[in-house]
Symmetry: D2
Subunit: 346 residues, 4 copies
């Protein structure tokens, strides 16, 4: 049987997530990039603004976005625009019959929560209700049936994967608040020029930002079924890409010997989550450029704290990689298609 | 009155802490470097192995260490050798009448604790009893009277300064274990060649090491009077220098409004500790190359966790800077002498 | 027709070139890694020393090298050991009937030239005579017929590709000596721990080394048919990988208008060499992780100097990528097999 | 005798050169920062936009620039604004009787040359004629007598210092065009946000820009008395600061043995220029944060090319440091005042 090919559009291809979508889909056996469009600031060959993509053949030129043109030329679209712009476009495309993955925060939260954390007006509740939260390790089945997917946030993905095996397994009442100490490379803030992200400013530095106020906080709590109260601390690493999460959880000591087995079995059928053997720790470099997530756990007897470490690429499993994983599920493909690359170590 | 000049020796001047001692003391109005000696692997002008020091005039050449020569040519000595070698030499020099600051971990802990965490035989208890723990913000008076000082560890300094104002101010029983999420630049591991510290390995990466087993753990608990149980997590930043600590403390919410004032008053007379105004956060770059420590606090109402952030230079306040601060106190100098430089922002 | 699969051995798989060979061959449709062996310092799963390769399935464990075992289990072998060790092993394997690509400098030069520049005894001339120099853009046909290939040096590859189109096209007498200002990332010096390559030493720095004495100098002159006298200056970039060459050639001004067309036609059928359109320049990031070479030229009317810029990945086209390209030719495969990846931009 | 203190203004203090001027002058024994003013985009404490300066005491707040206020509160002013804005302000302040150092390119070139290379209208020739070119190693005496100084460009400083000893010493006719391969850290492009300077873009990369068209080209030729034709190639290093120049000069072989002595004697009384002993090479790290310039030379017998390497900090000797050196000369101070710091090695 011949596999039906899928025509794919990318809205926002010159941003970092869009750029990675182009790279991943170029490796996909059954998808073709049929449409590239953005705000209109850059039109023409994508290689003009992203030199490393110069030699990918068969790509359409970047045009100014038009919903009608997109709907006509695509079976499936990724919308990778800033929050506040992206969701409405994703919904419009979905209404026109395109399967859509939205990479922004616009479709992930109930309206009132969105308003409180994003400090912006949400889309209508009936619209939000159409979107399925796209974390395959948590709700693979719903994603496969969805036509509109809200792709998770980068910090949220790393944190949720680190903690989800504990939901329904530990006594959440006893656990108390969970501190999630998270660190991200500079591309997490997007490709637009910002003074504090200049190499001359960020190189050799490290510091926290949006302390106690990062908008991925409610997304994490929601994806953990609301059983934990979490404190998400976000900090900037002077590197281009990667997220590292260190979570501190006070679990019942009696559970400690069983935690590793719990994580291993929870992720047994998750092709992108690697629960490391005891004594190993995640490395950002091991996952950079891929859709992988590395997780390790360590029980600290002295303080009775369970440490959970996770590492992802904020542009891979934290954005474009996961979006393609979702798209694979929506199309009935193996979820790893186009996503089998190995990281560079240096 | 003419100030008596102090003749200073540095044992281990070609390591990172030793190198910084040379740089700081060159700016000191009343100290002269009179002796430089190491293992004998490098002898000759220090500029041959540390090109940035080529043009400092008046430095003695580096010789192979001899206790007698050192004692003869110095009033005060810094011993900056690896733990396991450094302490015994420091003690010997002290016995010969030299005032000594030892930068290793050998003199900081009781013998049994040292044995458990360093997995090495400690010095004799009567020897350890002679050393004063050199954290001026905690025991300035004892240091001023001491002839042998155990200079604190780099992680320990950042963590203790972050938490010390809480000792005796919060109800330690209610607080529970404190997670200290710490990150350090590469120079914290010394100047000896190690594969995992090569630029080709560490650049673009981030990961934890010695999980639950870092030897600064008991040093921190001890300097906090044993009232808290702490979990120290140490992680490698792909930058040359700097330590950043994020500590998570569950304090009584009633205390929250008073915390900033508590920190500000606690460090009022500490010339190197800058308690930042609300809304500001420490930056590693703001303290790199200096003896400064930046601290900020943030109360998270949702989780009732107090966040304390601190940043130091692991070679400055975390090693050589603090050692000179101690030496100033021991000599009756203003503690800031030779330590007034401003960080580079880029 | 079913393609015969090729069993491939890698001698030195835990060094940087070996590590990249594993990664590339894992993507090859008709090659299988059947043998991994080194000095014996690391034996066991390769993922234990190279965590990013943990999840590649089907790899043999690393053993201590044995020529007999290698010859038995491989149709083709890459020998990626240090110069001085590598060549003799490559020759031995070739003698046992294995097709071999040697990545060291041992088989690239006549004995007397090798002795002068490597300051080490060369292999016997009759042995050296068996090896074909493996730069496909220059001698693709010879490589396809070879059983023993000397893979070019990293600097040499970047420099030769930058200048080769000029051979036989410009009047070499008029050109005079050519200055090649070359810069390389840290992995060019191998994976062994060296103090000057520690992140704490190399970060934020830049400097030349082996001034006037780099051993790739005669290799470049030889591959340019000896028509030019070149001065190769090698300098360290504080990044993990990539080589950038800036070459300065005084050509006849009358030729200037035709240079771009000359380069474009010279590399027309070279799948990995991208002669950029006027106004574009190579970026190390555009080629990192790939087997690509970007070249641009610029004619400077004021000084009558032709500038040629080239960029490669020292581990890609400068080592492992080119080695696989050679292996493809030796096996009759399309030369791009396993080498089609796109660079990461961030 | 009591030294008269000098009241100093800095126009543009929140840019990189301005920021370094603040840092250097804070160490000056006889200068006080009495005025800080910019475009008005940032007003208030300088520590709000440059956290590392938070603790410098006694600084005026940043105000919106007013010529009258500046002239009233300053004896001497540094104008560190972008080219095109800076020169006119410098001239206005000079007219009001303030001694001025202008750090832009506006006052360095004859009007027609400026127009051709900066593609902008120059100031009037009678205005340009008032400015003295501020390279102390070339025209210290003129600077000491000047009231308006054009501070040299960063690339220009590194290149001129590398080549100036050859002027009048080699036969310029025989030398032919000189290729100057120059590399600069990111701060050379200023502090304004630009996409290509984001850490996510520039990290791990290296590439040339403004090929054959950099505006420092005529400045270098002019400062070398017009005897050489030079090709300046400017390239971006993925580090915050530092310039490295590699120059290739075809000199008469008979002169080769005498070159080092020539350089050493030429810079004998230049306190900031360090002509390294044979076998040593400049390091960017050895000069970062300082006003130093390291120079080394190497004669290549094979190609009869003299290589000259020089390294400076683009913000030190390439901008703020040199500006203060000039100011010291203009005020009759020792030229090293405030400029005696030692670089950080890590």
């Amino acid at each position: 049987m011949t596999q039906q090919r899928v025509r794919v559009g990318i809205v926002g291809p010159t941003g970092y997530a869009g750029m990675e979508l182009v790279r991943f889909i170029a490796q996909h056996p059954y998808m073709d990039v049929s449409y590239l469009a953005g705000s209109g600031a850059h039109t023409g060959p994508i290689g003009d603004v992203l030199p490393h993509l110069r030699r990918l053949s068969g790509l359409p030129t970047v045009s100014a976005f038009s919903p009608a043109a997109c709907a006509e030329s695509c079976d499936l679209a990724f919308v990778a625009l800033p929050s506040g712009e992206s969701g409405a476009i994703a919904v419009e495309l979905a209404t026109r019959g395109v399967r859509v993955i939205d990479l922004s925060g616009d479709l992930r939260l109930p309206g009132d929560v969105y308003r409180a954390w994003y400090q912006r007006e949400p889309l209508a509740n009936e619209v939000l209700a159409r979107a399925v939260y796209g974390l395959p390790e948590v709700n693979r089945t719903d994603i496969a049936a969805a036509s509109l997917v809200a792709n998770p946030g980068c910090y949220a993905t790393a944190a949720i994967l680190a903690l989800r095996p504990l939901v329904g397994w530990v006594d959440a009442q006893r656990v108390g608040p969970i501190a999630i100490d998270a660190k991200s490379g500079a591309t997490g803030a997007g490709r637009g020029a910002k003074q504090h992200l200049q190499l001359g400013e960020l190189a050799n530095d490290f510091y926290p930002y949006r302390v106690g106020a990062h908008q991925h906080t409610p997304e994490i709590e929601q994806a953990l079924d609301g059983v934990f109260r979490i404190l998400l601390t976000t900090q900037l690493l002077p590197i281009p890409r990667g997220i590292f999460v260190s979570a501190y959880v006070q679990i019942d000591p009696d559970l400690a010997p069983a935690v590793h087995a719990r994580y291993a079995s929870f992720y047994e059928s998750a092709p992108f989550v690697d629960v490391l053997p005891p004594g190993h720790v995640p490395h950002i470099k091991s996952v950079a450029g891929t859709n992988d997530c590395q997780i390790s756990i360590a029980w600290n007897e002295r303080t009775r704290i369970l440490q959970v470490f996770s590492a992802i690429d904020n542009l891979g499993k934290g954005a474009a990689g996961q979006a393609l994983q979702n798209a694979n599920l929506m199309c009935g493909f193996d979820e790893t298609m186009g996503l089998s690359g190995t990281a560079l170590w240096t």
